[in-house]
Symmetry: C2
Subunit: 459 residues, 2 copies
């Protein structure tokens, strides 16, 4: 087998992107603005200044600059672990006996194990630039916390991570890795914040939630001198940083004249999916392609496929600004049984808007079938995928098998956002057949929707 | 910072090696032959046939073919995860403030997490070629077992792994990963073999050892139809397969006209070190370079620096052929406290010979200092190194600091053989300061030496 297209396509350093791409600048119908929850007016930079640092606020609010230069310092940071490989899935294609061509962009070769490092680096850099000495954040499955621990180790910033308590107990090695990079880990809810104390009063034995950890991290940031909060998904500045994924992919494909027919990504808060599709979606908006885009979410937390398009809070404590997004309600509690991340109640506002406007498709998958796909993939391609990323694998396999039926030679691209080294408990429960699917009932969803604030939705 | 030499050098598929390099062919003074333990005569292919499959036996006994073609099927296998990156350690250099240039070849980007896959693939391929249906092996820290599980998953062969019992208990995730690839894991010693039963009779609560697991795996292989045994280090056919590491590295360095002054690798059985240095040692033997070669071993298991050059068995059960090597005696039991691998009593015969002849230097390092170096490295370079690989990091840092003293701008190359994702227990004990150094006393060594067979050593 000698292939015209190599199994792994790497860019040279000269070919690596020098700009991030801001998809919103090319959208005629832009996402609705973020609102101040008190005034219901669009937030200003001043509103956000106590929580976020200036560099990312400017990016969050900028809807018009198409190409945002990547500071040379961050280009250096990226060079320490990028470019990531774009891989032609020759073995998977053979295993499926499909006429389709399958490609995947693999973001798991860095030590944090996922794409999260692409935004952790810039966020730590802007904090350092602004003269801050520490940051706070939250982490659920642990990828984002690890990425921030690495970035803060690199830029010599203190980091406090509120880790969802049940995760910190189930994933002691994730905790150890973050600590090895110098991060201060606090299981959430904790007694270190008012938000945490309040929750512990009601239920001292709670395992915690991402929404609660966010509330604690924000509270600590605003109460600490020279400290701000960082978030690893959902917001548009995160999507901007993650556009590096799509830009590298597009450059690599363009070298070989390859045009994807379908692009697939898993979706929790949207950072990986949004980063991968941004430049390709830009082409579609300009009428230059007919590419289909597919978001794949867990059936246990279906914010696209069963959620509502509404202004909602980003956290369960209802302390954040309001974001117009696909949401299950900030009070929605996804099953703890679900492996890995992708368990956030909302979705990035840009992706939500694209979905609403029919430019982005979405589907949900149950976890046992997602792990079926993961096992197929790991045997063929040799890579242990993260449970999150395996949602994209599932959809890619389904599309490739559809091509087998129709005989179409489509080009399928998907994002392999990370590795599953810290998810072996989930793989074990899959191997032992103790894993179950967790699909919320309509009543479960109604309880979540009831937490969506009752405000005018067209502002 | 814009660098003439990129941070990461990748070969294109066309540049990837088409041959392995057999260093022994270029050695005037070759390693002594492997002996049959009964006759004390050099082993023949027939002697080895019940244990190993033909393809690897031919390679093991071949001392004259310089370049061994890599079968196209194995080139395909390699393309699924290679080339591995050669990385310029710009950040580590900056951190150390050294005039030295530091490069490392990173073998940890595949799912097995180490270089072991480079030999697992070929060994599974030759087994498949020979019409076998199953293989057996042993694993200690788990890298080799994982690599074989992946390779057997790929080539559709059954695999039974005897995993040192204490490791299988301490590393449940390693076990889960091998099982996810379809391997059958048996904690050793076990009741499935006579060798295992014998050991359990003496000590039913033993945690096992690599030597014992080898005995069990060999016994099962010779007693099972269409089954053979595979070994991940020590033997010369493994070094041959691992020469892919050095060949890729040399091609990458040659592209930029870089000549290493010092090449460093960690050494357990010698597969990673031997693979990395082979083509460079070939140049030295041809009088074309003055490169220094440094093997770094743990102070807890110092087969180079405190061992004897003698014919010895490869396993504690004394069932293998005799190998002339640096050895601590097959009865030497390294401290269980030591993190990771590198705990084998002997050393590859080719490397042992080069050491004896003054062509290869060696040093030993204590584990707390090795972890000091690992933490420095992971903060600067962003990669979590395996405890094994961190021995090479320690020596590379020491050499770079020596350059800082002398002002010399040496080029230092080291092998980063793997990642530490499954070694977080060790990192935790380092973080908690509960890790200790384990240096055997002279009396400990004498007890090991007593197990070296009393036979004429010059045959």
């Amino acid at each position: 087998m000698k292939n015209k297209i190599p199994t792994r396509i790497y860019l040279t350093e000269d070919e690596m992107p020098k700009h991030w791409y801001n998809l919103r600048a090319d959208m005629k119908d832009k996402p609705d603005p973020i609102l101040h929850p008190g005034t219901l007016q669009p937030v200003t930079a001043e509103d956000l200044a106590p929580v976020f640092c200036k560099g990312v606020i400017d990016q969050e609010l900028d809807e018009t600059t198409r190409l945002v230069p990547i500071p040379s310092d961050i280009q250096d940071f990226y060079r320490a672990y990028r470019p990531s490989p774009l891989i032609r899935a020759y073995y998977l294609e053979k295993m499926l006996d499909t006429p389709a061509e399958i490609y995947y962009k693999f973001e798991g070769t860095n030590t944090s194990g996922s794409h999260k490092l692409n935004s952790a680096g810039p966020q730590a850099y802007y904090a350092k630039e602004a003269g801050l000495t520490s940051l706070t954040t939250e982490t659920g499955a642990g990828q984002w916390g690890t990425a921030m621990a690495m970035a803060c180790g690199f830029y010599d910033l203190k980091l406090t991570v509120y880790m969802v308590k049940i995760s910190s107990e189930q994933k002691p090695y994730r905790k150890a890795l973050m600590e090895a990079y110098g991060a201060n880990l606090i299981p959430s809810p904790s007694n270190t914040t008012e938000a945490g104390k309040k929750i512990l009063e009601v239920d001292p034995n709670t395992g915690g939630s991402l929404g609660c950890a966010i509330s604690e991290a924000i509270e600590r940031a605003v109460k600490t001198d020279k400290c701000r909060y960082v978030l690893g998904s959902v917001l548009n500045h995160v999507l901007l940083h993650q556009s590096i994924i799509g830009l590298e992919t597009k450059t690599a494909l363009d070298k070989y004249g390859i045009k994807p027919d379908i692009i697939i990504g898993c979706a929790g808060g949207g950072s990986n999916l949004g980063g991968l599709i941004s430049p390709f979606m830009g082409e579609k908006l300009a009428g230059k392609s007919n590419t289909r885009f597919i978001a794949v979410e867990p059936a246990s937390c279906p914010s696209f496929t069963r959620g509502r398009f509404a202004y909602d809070f980003g956290d369960t404590g209802k302390t954040t600004p309001l974001i117009k997004m696909q949401t299950l309600g900030s009070g929605f509690i996804p099953s703890a049984n679900h492996a890995g991340g992708l368990r956030y109640h909302g979705m990035n506002s840009t992706l939500s808007k694209l979905y609403k406007d029919g430019l982005l498709e979405a589907r949900s998958e149950v976890q046992t079938e997602v792990f079926d796909a993961a096992l197929k993939f790991m045997k063929g391609e040799g890579i242990l995928p993260a449970p999150e990323s395996s949602h994209a694998i599932k959809a890619a396999i389904d599309e490739a098998l559809e091509c087998k039926k129709t005989g179409e030679k489509k080009v399928i691209l998907f994002g392999l956002s990370g590795t599953g080294f810290f998810d072996m408990t989930a793989y074990t429960s899959y191997n032992n057949k103790t894993m179950s699917d967790q699909i919320p009932s309509d009543a479960d969803l109604e309880r979540g929707f009831a937490s969506i604030p009752n405000i005018p939705q067209n502002i």
